[in-house]
Symmetry: C2
Amino acid sequence: MPGRRKVGNLLALAVLSALVQQPMHPYEIATTLRSWGKDQDMAIKWGSLYTVVRNMERHGLIAAVESVREGRRPERTVYRITDAGRAELVDWARELVSTPVTEQSSFRAGLSVLAVLHPDEATALLRRRLARLEDGIRTAREAFAEHARSVPRLFLVENEYDLTIQEAEANWIRSLLAEFTSGSYPGLDEWRAFHEAGTAPGGATEGGSSTK
Amino acid sequence: MPGRRKVGNLLALAVLSALVQQPMHPYEIATTLRSWGKDQDMAIKWGSLYTVVRNMERHGLIAAVESVREGRRPERTVYRITDAGRAELVDWARELVSTPVTEQSSFRAGLSVLAVLHPDEATALLRRRLARLEDGIRTAREAFAEHARSVPRLFLVENEYDLTIQEAEANWIRSLLAEFTSGSYPGLDEWRAFHEAGTAPGGATEGGSSTK
DNA sequence: GGTCCTATACTCGTATGCGAGTAATCGGAA
DNA sequence: TTCCGATTACTCGCATACGAGTATAGGACC
C-alpha cells in the first residue's frame, strides 16, 4: 500500500482518467489507455487490471452500470466513475504533482554495484546503454512529433518530461564515459588494479574455492 | 517476477552486495546497507528482507553458515554468498547498467492527468514541487560532499547520477512554469475555459449529479 | 536495583501483483 | 464450408511484498 490511498496502484489512476471520459468495461479501458499511448509508461497487466477495478468498486470509486452479454461472449461489466472517484482522481493528481518521491531506479541500483565490474567492461556496458538510450530518444521524439499533430501539448506533457529526463541521463553517461576513457576519473587505477588482481573491490581477498 | 531472475527484487542485489563483503545475518545486512547509505534509494522493508533472503537461499545464491543463539535472543542465521550468488551479482549488474528500462514514475503519472486540475492550481502545485525538490537537492548535495571525504567517488556514482536527474527535473519544471505564468503555453486559455465552465477538460459536459 | 526506553532480531498474515490459462467470436483462406 | 489464427474478454491461483506485531537484551537514570 503505497501511502494511504484506498487503491494504491497507479493503474487505478489510469482507470479513473479513462472512466472520467465515459463508462466502459475493463477490456475497453485497457484498449483506450493503449490508444492514448499510456501503455508505454504503464504496461497494462491483465491480472492487475481486474484486481484493481474490483478494489476500486469495493471502495466506491467506480460503480457497475450494467452487465451486457453480447452473443455468448463472457459477460462484460461496464463501470462508471462515481463522485468519490472523481474526487480521488483530482486529489491524487494534486499529490503526485506536488510531492517529489524518490522512485526505484534499476539503473541507480546497477550503478551502486558498478565496482563489481572491471572498468573496461563497465565502460563498454555504459556505451551500450547510451546507444540504446539515444535510439529510444529518437523514437520517442518521432512518436511525440506525430502525436503533437492531433493532440494539444497539454496532453503530452509527460512525454516532454520523459524526453528531458532521458536526455539528461544520456548527457550524464557521456560525461562519465569521457572521464573513464580519458583516465581522469579519480581512483580509476585502483579500480583496475583490484580487478586485475583477481578480486572484487571493497571485498576481502578470497580464493574462489568450491561452494557446495 | 520482473524478468528471468530467480529473485527479482532489487533488494536481493543489495543483499548480494553486502554479503560479498563478508557473511552476515539479515538484520546485520540491513544495518550495513543503511550505514552504506543505500537505504536512501531503497527503503529496507523488513518483511521483504526476510522473504528475499529465504528465496535467495532456496535458489542457491546464498547459503546459511551457522545459526548462533546469543544469550536467549532469537536465533540469528548467518549467510554467506555462494559462487552462484557472485555470478548473479555480476550478471545482474551487467544487465542493469547496459539496458535502459522505462521505470514507473509517479510524477509522470501525475503529469498525465494534469489537465484535470485548474491551470492556476497546477501552477501552484508545480511551484510547491519545485521548492521541495530544490530542498532535497541541497540536502543531497551536502550529504554527498560529506560522504565524499571518506569514500572514493566510484562508490558514490549513483548519488551523482541522482543529483543530475533531479536537477534536470527542476530545470524542466522551471521552464514549464515560465510558460504557464507568461501565458505562452499553447492551449492555456482553453484549459482555463474548460475549468471555469465547471467541467473537466477532454470529457463530455456533465452536470455533477448525485452518484448513489 | 527497579523501571523504562531503545535497539536488536525476527515471524506472521493478509492484501496485492500478475502470469498463464480459458473460452467464445470473427474474418479470411482454402 | 470448414478450418485456423487472431481478437475479445475475462478468471484463477500462486508467489510476493510488506506492515504490524512480538519478544529479548542492554544501558541509563533515579
